[in-house]
């Protein structure tokens, strides 16, 4: 009996040491790097991890340096809150979507407004540049229930994708440029071909029980992550549309998730004030950190050394790995 107890204690100690070691690996230190005048709604890190852009209810976009956290510029021009933004694959441009029903394209170097794209008939909620360097396409979602594709160079609306029955919340291109994923208040995700000649979705993914607020492909294009208004994250196999993992991740809505460069780690943040890292294969929570603000948006650098969060108190915070 005593031997069994000793063995059990040894196992327990080993397990505790393992947990403590892994927890030590994933400790982050919080730093407020700056502030918008109102809630921060979107965060996007550029391709080479040197800049992060944020957008806000204050109708502006700000660009910050990475890893320093220095505010580089403020972009003004939208007539309503800026709901989301995205760097182009070559990091030269930012596209932003706003309640003023427009998408604006900005030059990252000069901060100049290059184009205003009009065509949505309601607020623009999501916007995403094709990450393919050779592509000039931008996708957007809106309360008007459509997904629209725009050509940055031509300044034209080149396609409207219809099929969602409620407002569309967010959109993402796969990194190989082949697919586009959109999500909606109708609780579904649709995967579309980027072939401009095709009108219907390739796949309809159902399973969420609340409005789906965001979608994102992994860098290797094999996985799709989605998150909803009940705090659930789902991981899908892009090849066949099968649900791989469903995680009850947060107590409140999750507006944003992002993959790390290893394609296995996902960061999520929520209005429940928590930022969490997940192993998408096992569904295991790798890190959880509570901040003193509700979080709308999150992104991270490829090696996970910095997580950037946009908070409802207007602050932009860097969580640096210890």
């Amino acid at each position: 009996m005593a031997i069994h107890l000793k063995v059990f204690a040894a196992y327990l100690l080993a397990a505790l040491l393992t947990v403590s070691a892994s927890a030590q690996k994933l400790k982050y230190e919080e730093q407020v790097v700056g502030k918008h005048n109102d809630e921060v709604l979107g965060v996007f890190v550029n391709e080479d991890d040197t800049k992060v852009a944020t957008c806000s209810l204050d109708e502006t976009i700000k660009i910050w340096s990475l890893p320093e956290g220095k505010e580089l510029m403020t972009l003004k021009g939208h007539l309503g809150q800026v709901n989301n933004l995205s760097f182009s694959g070559n990091d030269k441009y930012i596209a932003s979507g706003s309640s003023d029903q427009t998408i604006k394209v900005w030059d990252v170097e000069t901060g100049k407004l290059i184009k205003t794209l009009k065509g949505h008939t309601d607020q623009v909620i999501g916007v995403y540049f094709s990450q393919d360097d050779g592509s000039t396409l931008i996708a957007s979602t809106s309360f008007d229930k459509t997904v629209k594709l725009w050509d940055r160079e031509l300044g034209a609306e080149v396609k409207t994708l219809r099929g969602h029955t409620e407002p569309t919340n967010n959109v993402a291109y796969s990194y190989d440029g082949k697919y586009l994923a959109s999500c909606s208040d109708d609780k579904t995700i649709k995967i579309w071909s980027t072939d401009i000649g095709k009108d219907d979705p390739i796949m309809n993914l159902s399973g969420h029980e609340a409005p789906v607020l965001t979608v994102l492909f992994s860098f290797d294009n094999k996985l799709l992550a989605s998150a909803d208004a009940s705090g659930t994250i789902k991981i899908w196999n892009v090849a066949n549309g099968q649900l791989i993992k469903s995680i009850k991740a947060h107590d409140q809505l999750v507006q944003d998730v992002s993959f790390a460069g290893d394609n296995k780690t996902l960061v999520s943040a929520s209005l429940d004030k928590k930022v969490k890292l997940w192993d998408v294969e096992s569904g295991k929570e790798l890190m959880s950190m509570e901040l003193n603000c509700e979080i709308w948006s999150v992104d991270l650098v490829l090696d996970k050394s910095i997580i950037i969060v946009g908070c409802s108190d207007g602050t932009v915070r860097y969580l640096r790995k210890k």
Partner: protein
């Protein structure tokens, strides 16, 4: 002398290049496709779509499909500006500008339109608030957001309308009860300044929250920030 001839030749070649490029673009065909919907109900609408070039000449016309609202028009030229006029007895006449992109390949572009019912009593909400939260002045740059409604009111001279503004919150009703009247007046002044007759406009600043679109009671997903609604209400048609 030799230098002058060279310069002249260069200019001629440059002009030829620019002219041929322009000719190439302007001969490229562009098509436009989209859906026309009732702005208040989101239902598809059947109406006449008339396409006019920069000189005002009609270059194409079509009807949108009554079941789907879809329309399709081809024969537009690349790099030009067109006016798309939407005509129906049941809706305000509206005109929208379409710029076709400079392209040397056939291109189909997309454009959806929302039209406003021409029925007395109908309340047309301004989807982009021309005011900032808790402020009564029309915000800088709002003319861009007001462009469609301004054009529609200008094109339909027979229509008399009322501007109704609702407060941002219950708190505002108590702390700043005059803000809605101030907002309605500011918008009337704006419409008058851009050429709409003041005789056509009446104003109302509501002291109650908008019954059709009240402020949300809890924090929802983004994009749902609330600024008291402003309506243009059709009074006489």
């Amino acid at each position: 002398m030799k230098y002058m001839i060279k310069s002249a030749l260069f200019i001629v070649m440059l002009l030829a290049f620019v002219t041929s490029s322009f000719a190439q673009f302007s001969s490229t065909v562009v098509a436009v496709r989209g859906v026309i919907m009732n702005e208040l109900t989101g239902e598809p609408v059947k109406l006449k779509v008339q396409l006019m070039d920069e000189t005002g000449k009609t270059v194409n016309r079509a009807f949108s499909n009554s079941l789907t609202g879809e329309y399709y028009m081809t024969g537009l030229r690349a790099g030009l500006t067109y006016k798309c006029r939407l005509v129906s007895d049941e809706f305000l006449v509206e005109e929208f500008v379409i710029h076709t992109p400079n392209t040397d390949k056939y291109l189909e572009i997309s454009r959806d339109f929302m039209v406003k019912p021409l029925i007395a009593g109908k309340k047309i909400p301004l989807k982009v608030a021309p005011f900032e939260l808790r402020k009564s002045k029309i915000k800088f740059g709002a003319s861009e957001a007001l462009e469609d409604i301004t054009n529609a009111l200008k094109l339909n001279e027979q229509v008399k309308f009322e501007i109704i503004c609702y407060p941002d919150s219950e708190t505002q009703v108590k702390s700043d009860p005059e803000i809605t009247t101030q907002r309605a007046n500011a918008l009337r002044d704006y419409f008058v300044a851009v050429g709409i007759s003041p005789d056509r406009i009446s104003v109302e600043g509501s002291k109650q929250l908008d019954p059709d679109n009240p402020p949300p009671t809890q924090k929802a997903a983004k994009g749902k920030r609330y600024i008291g609604t402003t309506y243009v209400v059709i009074k006489e048609v």
